[in-house]
């Protein structure tokens, strides 16, 4: 008997969403990187994270790289784009946190406007730890940057109405729906946001992210199930591309923040941080993420090459 190579053909397809003016996410009709089965859609995007404030809490190795530019988000973003060529920049308004600098939504909007004017790649707008404040910040930023197709990360169950109405409907941007590692919650939030009137092609989702070792099996399994539902069962409520804020999780894991004095046997701190970020990014990409957000330039380089070699 001769070998017959198996293949899985699906009736469903992940929706293609355009970020900015030309960055495409999704569009695949096969499991992640299953080039041998058919169309893998747009190449997964790799973005870099910057903050609106100096990243005091980041490990020293990252501050050594970005520190000289991090006093101004525009300078920081331009440095990343010119030096490392990411597909997008994720600006995280950490300074908006009411328990921290409590930057006003108007100030955040001014920063976003400057970035939009001077940075040649699309923006992903992320908020702080306060869901309430994020709704206000996102509304102002979306208002200042209408119809840009920028991604707002994220709308959750508690604030999706304001964010969906402002970012997705009134000002023509893209809403990212965030849920925590549960297929049914992801589905429910996607339905709620589309019921508001946000068009599915103006949506992406973040069904939860974690660093490897920290409940990562829930992330992989949720994404496996979402992709199978979207492709195999043609479930249109789960066909949004997935964006994973990898760096938000990996750089607070012990493996990345323990210094060499804390853990002498573990070796160099910078390498540990990169390895956690690279492994987590490769892990979510293999489970179906269509875009990852990273911090370290080495991670960006490795993950981009990893994607290129698989496609």
């Amino acid at each position: 008997m001769a070998y017959k190579k198996p293949s899985q053909k699906f009736s469903g397809k992940i929706r293609e969403v355009t970020v900015g003016s030309g960055l495409k996410l999704g569009g695949e009709s096969v499991l992640p990187f299953y080039k041998f089965d058919g169309d893998t859609g747009a190449k997964p995007a790799v973005g870099m994270e910057i903050w609106d404030v100096f990243p005091e809490s980041w490990p020293q190795s990252l501050k050594d790289i970005f520190g000289p530019y991090a006093d101004d988000p525009v300078k920081w973003a331009k440095f990343c784009v010119e030096k490392y060529n990411p597909d997008f920049i994720c600006i995280k308004f950490e300074g908006a946190n009411p328990e921290g600098d409590d930057r006003s939504p108007e100030d955040c909007a001014r920063i976003a406007e400057r970035l939009a004017g001077e940075v040649p790649v699309p923006l992903v707008i992320a908020g702080c730890d306060s869901d309430e404040k994020n709704a206000k910040v996102f509304t102002k930023v979306a208002e200042a940057l209408p119809d840009k197709n920028y991604v707002f990360l994220s709308a959750i169950e508690a604030n999706y109405k304001e964010i969906g109405a402002a970012c997705g409907m009134a000002y023509g941007n893209i809403v990212s729906a965030e849920s925590s590692v549960d297929l049914n919650l992801a589905k429910q939030l996607n339905i709620l946001i589309t019921q508001l009137g946000v068009k599915p092609e103006k949506m992406v989702m973040n069904p939860g992210c974690a660093a490897v070792g920290y409940g990562f099996e829930y992330v992989v399994t949720t994404m496996d199930r979402i992709k199978l539902a979207a492709l195999d069962q043609n479930d249109s409520t789960l066909q949004m591309p997935i964006i994973s804020p990898v760096s938000f999780e990996t750089w607070k894991a012990k493996e990345a923040i323990a210094t060499e004095e804390d853990m002498p046997e573990w070796g160099g701190q910078e390498e540990r941080g990169i390895a956690m970020e690279v492994s987590t990014a490769a892990g979510v990409l293999a489970a179906g993420s269509n875009a990852v957000i990273l911090r370290h330039p080495k991670s960006v380089e490795v993950i981009r090459k990893f994607i290129d070699e698989l496609l």
């Binding site: 008997m1 001769a2 070998y3 017959k4 190579k5 198996p6 899985q8 990187f33 299953y34 080039k35 041998f36 328990e99 730890d129 490897v212 070792g213 920290y214 409940g215 990562f216 099996e217 829930y218 992989v220 399994t221 496996d224 199930r225 199978l228 607070k252 894991a253 012990k254 493996e255 923040i257 046997e265 573990w266 070796g267 160099g268 390498e271 540990r272 990169i274 390895a275 956690m276 690279v278 492994s279 987590t280 990014a281 490769a282 892990g283 293999a286 489970a287 080495k298 991670s299 490795v302 993950i303 090459k305 990893f306 070699e309 698989l310 496609l311």
Partner: protein
Amino acid sequence: MMGEMNMALNGMEIYKMLPKKNCKECGFPTCLAFAMKLAQGGTQAEKCPYMSDEAKGKLAEATAPPMRTVTFGAGERTYSLGGETVLFRHEKTFVNRPRFAVMFDDAENADEVAKKINHINSVNYTRISEEMYVEIAAFRCSSQDKQKFISLIKKVTSECKKVVPMIISEDPDIASAAAEEFAALGPIIYGANEQNCEAMVGIAKKHNLLLGVKAENQAKLYDTVQKIQNMGYKELLLDAGGRSLKNAFDDAVNIRRTALLSKDRTFGYPTVTFVCDMAQDKMMEVAMATLFVEKYASIIVLSDMDYSMALPLFALRQNIYTDPQRPMRIEQGIYKIGQADESSPLLVTVDFALTYFIVSGEVERSKVPSWILIPDAGGYSVLTAWASGKLNAKSIAKAIKDFEVEGKLKTRELIIPGKVAVLKSDIEDELPGWKVIVGTREAASLPAFLKDYRQKSAS
């Protein structure tokens, strides 16, 4: 297709082999119901009293799992590979975790060898009750010098007590000499191909060893495996030759799908992937190995394994190979975070590993040295443990006593999760002299809470 013994049978095919008496003696209402269950592996052919022995034999073979479980190693270092029944862990669970190997080459210089030995011996730690270390040392014979090859294996296996050797050579003479020398360690013999398979099977059979089979591509591997199976040997590990990431991924996915979707046992064996030959960069090896832990390699050969590689890879493997029905639990006890002393804050949370990791991570981030008490909470998250009665005043008081907290610490304040604030007075009743402080509802708010708490305690 029914005559092909390599194919697993479906329910209807099994039904045709049954007596169709619907006697119910097997415990099922009809022969068809019995056949369906048998096809899923949910019962045994022996339960039918009226089937011929010949049919039973055929069925036992045909209803065996689609992917074989093979073993390598010896004594307490015996490992199982394969035996998987699903492509995605949520469908049931993955069973035999992949094992990591570090590649040695007998043409490598001594410094390089010494560095790898040193890394293998230093990477050895426990993470959530699992001991993490490199299980395999792979040896490539580039010199074609038998003595040089054997002395390298001897050096590494005598200095790294935990590794099982994987002997890589397509020369049966060299493979045989090495197998003879290290047979007691239960090595893997890798290097059977279309030409040498008869001799290689002979070596593997003699010592009952796991045999790595290699071919240029999936179709040729398929033919070679059939040839080897016809020689009566089934302790196999497969390599379809892909040495670019794209081809190696194609191989790993399609060999596994052939076994589990096409139910074709010719590819019903675990696979090995040589990440060390696909990447020039350590971080790229980490990325590739991550992919293969998720899908679907059983042995992953790396060029080295230092802590920066081990920390993510072993943790990832532990996560992916957790049974979805049995979440990971951490051991009950009292855990010290940072340089905590007898007056540091004491928090209590549950033994669900994910919760513990999140809570301990936030406590660590707060830079307030603290203690975390873990009672028996059934392995559930805070609210589930409370709702099911596993986390209550009694279980918390028991942990305070069992782990001799009153003797170890001066503090008599216990911080409980905000979500179970209702337990406050019950706990205070159970623990005279203690004051219960209601903590935060979310772990993310712990750093601010702890800093505030420390300040208040100091003043």
